[in-house]
């Protein structure tokens, strides 16, 4: 055995009612390296991390730190052993200050239990300075960006003298620039001898940062190798157990007349002079940095937020969208970027979550026709390949990818003409992504249209017929398929170029 192994797990097994989540897992992380875990949702990565962090107990198997066997009963013990976990969904109290957050659960007190705020202030200040973070100890968390808070979590881990930091999908909600900052920090941590376990679905990123890669599938480790012995294609095929011939299965669809026309859409202080159109058979992308106003335009268009002025035409007819119902009745639906907040009704069944969009289909003649309801839902699930144990299963117990497909099923039930997808593949695995792309293809081939807002340029470039780029609340560029390039999109997105200059 090599001597520089920081963390090793041996023959870990864990079952949940009905499923074997982890089957005899062996896995080791070297000191001062970045070890990336990949695998589809439900492959067992998160379960293993939760065992290492003490949230779950393994059924059998052993964990070693510095080759000494340890038992981790709870996250507090994990922390004492030098293990910190940074979760995908950052939980924080918005009204809390930076210093309170840094010392949360760890406040220095005198012997009467009085907090020594002076010490807190000074230590936080020193920490922020040492890490080159520009905000003050008294800044409120609600005034920080997701990336700032993430950085804070990292320095918190560092201040706890963590030697193993687990990061679960750390880049799922931050911008490209912030990713760069994060990677810089990870490299610094590595240099200090910290071991990092990094879970991600974003394969291009993985190869930028990884030293070693371990691929999970169905609760087992399929392969674990240094990065240079692997490439993206291999990793994908290891993950899904087959070769995906094409990550973006773009198919051409005949383009027809205008389905949606948006003229001079304004919302004071949010976006201005937004003009675009979408034709039958098109997948139209919206690119831009976080905060460029893409989601805001879509929300307003869908009737969730008010519009100050502007015209919207669907199929050449002017429509007045004041609430969501107006939009739905005109054949336009939207899948929100924030599945938990605007999508699922967590404690209700997948069946109810599906038919909620069109209750008239299952409630008529004074009663609920439950057999009809079950039938249309199961047919829709079959088409969309939703995997759920039963139709009565509570939606929160499904994986992200399947939840997303249930939400798609909900809208497909309305047989819409225009489908707005805001970050449709965020946080879901390669297999489910692929299925969602296929679905978009099938959809536009029926003479309908898709608007896709995405922060992943390869996805936009791979799937779209046209891309609009937004910057600071308005559209700054429009690109046809033959003009697509990441560089050009980024230029429009950062506002260094506008379409007027080009044409």
């Amino acid at each position: 055995m090599e001597t520089n192994i920081k963390l090793r797990v041996s023959q870990i097994e864990k079952s949940f009612p009905g499923v074997k989540a982890l089957d005899k897992i062996d896995f080791a992380v070297k000191k001062g390296t970045v070890h990336v875990l990949c695998g589809e949702n439900g492959a067992g990565k998160s379960t293993l991390m939760k065992i290492i962090n003490g949230i779950y107990q393994p059924d059998s198997g052993q964990i070693f730190i510095d080759e000494k066997p340890v038992k981790i009963n709870n996250p507090m013990q994990a922390k004492n052993l030098g293990i910190s976990m940074i979760f995908q969904e950052l939980n924080y109290v918005p009204e809390m200050t930076v210093e309170e957050n840094v010392f949360l659960g760890n406040l220095p007190v005198n012997k009467f239990g009085k907090v020594n705020w002076k010490e807190v202030r000074e230590r936080t200040k020193a920490l922020l300075e040492a890490e080159n973070l520009p905000y003050s100890p008294t800044t409120l968390l609600k005034d920080l960006t997701v990336s700032d808070i993430q950085m804070l979590e990292i320095i918190k881990a560092v201040s706890n003298k963590s030697e193993i930091i687990i990061m679960d999908e750390p880049t799922s909600a931050i911008t490209l620039k912030e990713v760069e900052k994060l990677f810089q920090k990870i490299r610094e941590l590595k240099a200090r001898g910290v071991s990092i376990i990094y879970i991600s679905h974003k394969l291009d990123e993985i190869f930028q940062i990884a030293d070693e890669i371990t691929v999970f599938r169905d609760g087992t480790v399929v392969d674990s190798r240094p990065k240079d012995q692997l490439d993206i294609e291999t990793v994908i095929s290891l993950m899904v157990g087959r070769k995906l011939t094409n990550t973006y299965p773009k198919e051409e669809a005949p383009i027809g007349e205008n389905l949606l026309e948006v003229e001079n859409l304004n919302s004071t202080g949010v976006f201005y002079d937004v003009n675009f159109h979408v034709k039958k058979g098109e997948i139209v992308g919206f690119a831009g940095l976080v905060g460029a106003g893409r989601t805001e335009v879509m929300r307003a268009l869908f009737g969730l937020d008010p519009i100050t002025s502007g015209n919207v035409k669907i199929k050449g007819k002017k429509v007045n969208i004041k609430k969501v119902k107006d939009s739905i009745e005109n054949g336009m639906v939207m899948l929100s970027e924030d599945r938990r907040r605007y999508g699922i009704i967590p404690m209700r069944s997948v069946k109810e979550n599906t038919t909620i969009s069109d209750l008239k289909k299952v409630f008529y003649r004074f009663r609920n026709h439950s057999n009809v309801e079950r039938k249309i839902v199961s047919e829709m699930f079959k088409t969309l390949k939703v995997k759920t144990p039963t139709l009565e299963t509570v939606i929160a117990s499904l994986s992200g990818g399947n939840q997303q497909k249930v939400l798609l099923a909900k809208w497909m039930l309305r047989n819409p003409d225009i489908l707005i997808l805001d970050e449709p593949t965020r946080g879901i695995d390669v297999g489910a992504k692929y299925e969602i792309y296929k679905l978009m293809n099938g959809f536009v081939q029926e003479g309908k249209a898709v608007i896709m807002v995405s922060s992943e340029l390869p996805e936009l470039i791979g799937m779209c017929d046209r891309i609009y780029v937004m910057s600071k609340g308005t559209i700054t560029g429009e690109l046809k398929r033959e003009e697509f390039s990441q560089e050009l999109i980024m230029k429009y997105a950062t506002g260094t170029l506008t379409s007027n200059e080009v044409k």
């Binding site: 439900g42 169905d218 699922i344 399947n402």
Partner: protein
């Protein structure tokens, strides 16, 4: 094996409340010979009718993420108005309608504060609780209205052995079940309470749902007011104090979740009868009335802890679950 344990957990979750009710019924029957008498059972039901009707209104409100603390006071106000018009020569039907109308108006004010002005339901209905009670006392100058004549038939009469309030109770129970299971509005209640923002983004008119929920609650409260005054043969401006809490207790014990989105009509009915049976058996076996209060409180705590624990179990298994093995991949 797995199938069986799954089956059991679903079965237990769905039917445990009815099993508890049945067991309690059997235990009570053995504990005291008077319990099973027709007289006793009709009495229990008659006493339960008023608060259980309130409980159905509360159930719908809690499912949609709200609640009504004003139920007891509005009940008294509705009852007092109804009794007053009856004493002044209105027909029984008109008197009943006046009671119901009063319930509706107070609840429209509730929902105006909640849905239109975005006041938290707890505070809005708390203010209505105080206002309605004050109005009832002001209107009657604090005096009870006595001798209601034929008005008492609604609360004291029977058809065969079945007391009339119990018939109303049964009708409202069926109505609530029907609303929750067989109407778009019912399904929307669960959606609004489960995740209001998702409900809005699904095209549900959340305002309408909330208004309707309170109007229905108003009808139930108004009707309960008529039945209550009729049973005690008086218009009591100080009557039915704290009835909302008895109603909330029934809903909670019946499995309605205060985080919204979960609850059933059957559960609430069972919850009400569990409380009713317990009170009754404690009376029959001469348990000290102060002790009774303590026990009742402890049962609420028990029900809520049970609810939270079973919910936690569910979320825990959610977190680590491997929900979907990947599909059999046939494509290349």
């Amino acid at each position: 094996m797995d199938f069986r344990s799954n089956f059991w957990s679903t079965f237990k979750k769905k039917y445990s409340i009815y099993m508890i009710l049945t067991i309690l019924f059997v235990v009570c029957s053995f504990a005291n010979e008077n319990f099973l008498s027709v007289n006793n059972l009709t009495n229990i039901s008659r006493q339960l009718a008023v608060t259980t009707i309130l409980a159905f209104g509360e159930t719908m409100l809690i499912i949609s993420g709200m609640l009504d603390l004003s139920a007891g006071s509005v009940l008294a106000l509705s009852g007092v108005f109804s009794v007053y018009v009856y004493k002044n020569g209105a027909s029984l039907l008109v008197a009943v309608l006046v009671g119901i109308l009063t319930g509706i108006i107070c609840n429209l004010i509730n929902v105006l504060m909640i849905s239109t002005f975005k006041a938290p339901p707890f505070i809005a209905t708390l203010s209505m609780m105080t206002m309605a009670r004050g109005l009832a006392l002001l209107f009657t100058k604090g005096q009870n209205i006595l001798q209601l004549g034929d008005y008492v038939i609604l609360g004291q009469g029977s058809i065969g052995v079945i007391p009339i309030p119990v018939i109303f109770l049964a009708a409202i129970a069926v109505l609530t079940w029907y609303i929750l299971n067989h109407t778009r509005f019912g399904r929307s209640l669960y959606a609004v309470g489960g995740n209001e923002e998702a409900a809005i983004a699904s095209g549900i008119n959340v305002h309408k749902v909330k208004y309707l929920a309170f109007v229905i609650n108003g009808i139930f409260v108004g009707l309960a007011g008529v039945l209550f005054m009729s049973r005690v043969n008086a218009g009591l401006p100080n009557g039915a104090i704290n009835y909302e809490f008895t109603a909330l207790t029934a809903a909670i014990i019946g499995g309605t979740s205060f985080s919204g989105g979960i609850g059933t009509a059957g559960g609430t009915l069972a919850g009400a009868f569990i409380v009713g049976f317990l009170d009754n058996i404690m009376n029959l076996t001469n348990v000290d009335s102060y002790v009774q209060q303590i026990i009742r409180g402890a049962i609420i705590a028990f029900a809520v802890i049970y609810d939270i624990r079973s919910k936690n179990k569910r979320t825990k298994s959610m977190l680590g679950r491997i929900e979907d093995k990947q599909p059999e991949k046939k494509t290349a």
